[in-house]
């Protein structure tokens, strides 16, 4: 095993240690999307009329939105480590330099896997079902994790870019209109014309359309699965490049 991998795993273990020490932190993280799911599904959902029922329509959207919210978690952790000097400590050690980012990525992806699993169970409990077989459903889950992976690098980049509470707060606020500007909660066709264009281009929209198709929770749309692969891959490449550049230039 190379040092980069071993060091990354050590950094990942730090986060797993946090879960063990503060399980309520993890529980709150898991409870939040479930709360949103229940609020939208049962408080707003009654007024929203979509073919196949709102829960079936909403659930894939809720999964993708949860992946997008991961951006905040990643950004907050990265920015706190920079502020508290933990990043400096890591950078002053004879460890693999890239391991700090890779370890962060691994830890956040693991957390997202757990979060998705819990949400899927919650969905089944409130009546959501898959209709296209387990194989397709697993592809859908993979696409959701791919979206999380893309937002992870956006989060790392923004966390390194904005130091201080202001940046984190701005992102925490802006992420809301960003997720609403998609097909996650309502069909895009119900939106005003020019907003439809924006929403159609939202990477979340691609993933939601693809997972709806793969879970059998909505009609198949043209190129949905292709876009749900291309969008996150492009975002990952761009933001991972920016994040690594930023990281290697912290000392300049």
């Amino acid at each position: 095993m190379t040092w980069a991998l071993r060091d990354s795993w050590t950094v990942t273990l730090r986060d797993l240690g946090h879960w063990r020490r503060q399980p309520w932190g993890l529980v709150i993280g898991l409870a939040f999307p479930i709360l949103l799911l229940l609020m939208f599904g049962f408080l707003l959902g009654g007024a929203i009329d979509v073919p196949g029922g709102y829960i079936e329509f909403l659930f894939p959207g809720m999964l993708a939105v949860t992946m997008a919210f991961g951006l905040e978690t990643t950004m907050t952790t990265v920015s706190e480590d920079v502020q508290r000097g933990v990043t400096d400590r890591f950078r002053s050690l004879p460890m693999s330099r890239i391991a700090v980012l890779l370890g962060r990525a691994t830890a956040d992806m693991l957390a997202s896997v757990v979060s998705l699993a819990v949400l899927l169970v919650a969905g089944l409990v409130i009546g959501w079902r898959i209709h296209e077989g387990v194989g397709n459903a697993l592809v859908g889950v993979a696409l959701l994790l791919l979206l999380r992976f893309a937002f992870l690098w956006v989060g790392i980049y923004l966390g390194l870019l904005f130091r201080g509470q202001g940046g984190v707060m701005a992102v925490q606020i802006l992420v809301w209109p960003f997720v609403f500007l998609s097909n996650a909660f309502v069909p895009i066709t119900t939106m005003p014309g020019w907003i439809q264009v924006l929403s159609a281009w939202n990477p979340i929209t691609a993933t939601v359309a693809a997972t709806r198709e793969l879970f059998g929770n909505g009609p198949a749309t043209e190129n949905a699965i292709l876009l749900a692969v291309v969008w996150p891959v492009v975002l990952s490449v761009v933001f991972a490049t920016l994040a690594v550049r930023r990281w290697t230039r912290l000392g300049r």
Binding site: V11, G85, R91, S92, L93, M95, A99, G251
Partner: protein, 312 residues
């Protein structure tokens, strides 16, 4: 030679923070780096610990160049920065094991080193508790321990006692003394001149990114002259009389209203003392205290960096 910098320069945008710093720290000594905020102390430490690239000049730490041999520098240099840079949620032991593993000790070796450091810094009882429950002094001790995982030959301490109460400060001082006894060279930046007085055998005073003065603490004190005579009067109204009594035997005399104190630099200490006490006694002025002393590093510092503490 533990640390040597030549013409070290660093800018932030248009501002030059380090302007050709030449610094030499001998092995096995504590070297104090003093200076007002913005003098370049932290920038120096960050360059020496490879966190920041210099824009000019060279720096070697433990014999390695901080730019060309950064990896070796990281293996031989311990850093304790301004913030206690440890994980708040994990326990002290978990923190040290993590830093040990990241310093490429084997798992078992990392655990052994963590235990030894917990013992050394008197943190065994708190080893499993989350760091967020530690006192300021304990946190700093853990931070020191984290900087020592690889037994560095050079330790960089950036304001290690800022924000600590007096007992926390003493705890850290004791730890530093023990380290130096073990042969580690320490570069210490601080705002507390008393700290340098307590710990350092050599001092460099920085101002505007340049060396304003260097030497032993005693030599620095001697460089701005002679003994100081302080008189503390009971009644504030007597301050002018005390001032003129001191002026008769000294060139300068400064009045500190809050402390009801007049301070002056004197050349012939005993003659001055006798004269001042007799004069004040004759005038019927009640004196609470008379102190004859060497200048404090504070006075040296203010003298060298050109700031004035109070109106004379």
């Amino acid at each position: 030679m533990a640390i040597r910098t030549t013409g070290l320069t660093r800018r932030y945008g248009e501002t030059t923070v380090l302007d050709g710093l030449d610094l030499t720290v001998d092995a096995g000594t504590v070297h104090g780096l003093l200076g007002p905020n913005g003098a370049g102390k932290t920038t120096t430490v960050r360059i020496l610990s490879t966190l920041l690239d210099p824009h000019g000049g060279t720096a070697t730490v433990a014999g390695y160049d901080v730019v060309r041999q950064a990896a070796q520098v990281r293996r031989h240099v311990g850093l304790v920065g301004q913030h206690a840079a440890v994980d708040e949620i994990l326990g002290g032991r978990d923190n040290l094991v993590m830093f040990g593993r990241l310093s490429h000790l084997g798992t078992r070796q990392a655990r052994r080193r963590a235990d030894a450091l917990l013992e050394q810094f008197d943190l065994v009882d708190a080893a499993e508790r989350p760091v967020s429950t530690y006192s300021g002094g304990m946190r700093r001790r853990l931070d020191l321990a984290a900087g020592l995982v690889l037994d560095p030959t050079v330790l960089l301490l950036d304001e290690p006692t800022t924000g600590l109460d007096p007992s926390g400060r003493r705890e850290v001082w004791q730890s530093v003394r023990a380290l130096v006894a073990g042969g580690t060279a320490v570069l210490l930046t601080t705002q507390y001149l008393e700290e340098v007085d307590q710990l350092a055998s050599q001092v460099t005073v920085l101002n505007h990114g340049r060396v304003a003065a260097e030497g032993t603490p005693d030599a620095l004190k001697a460089s701005i002259g002679q003994d100081r005579l302080d008189v503390v009067v009971r009644d504030e109204a007597d301050l002018p009389s005390a001032h003129s009594a001191l002026r008769a035997v000294a060139q300068d005399a400064e009045t500190d209203l809050d402390g009801r104190r007049v301070t002056a630099t004197v050349t012939d200490r005993m003659a001055a003392l006798t004269y001042v006490v007799r004069t004040l006694d004759d005038a019927g002025i009640v004196v609470d205290d008379v102190i004859l002393r060497r200048p404090t590093l504070d006075e040296v510092f203010l003298h060298l960096t050109g700031s004035t503490k109070e109106a004379s």
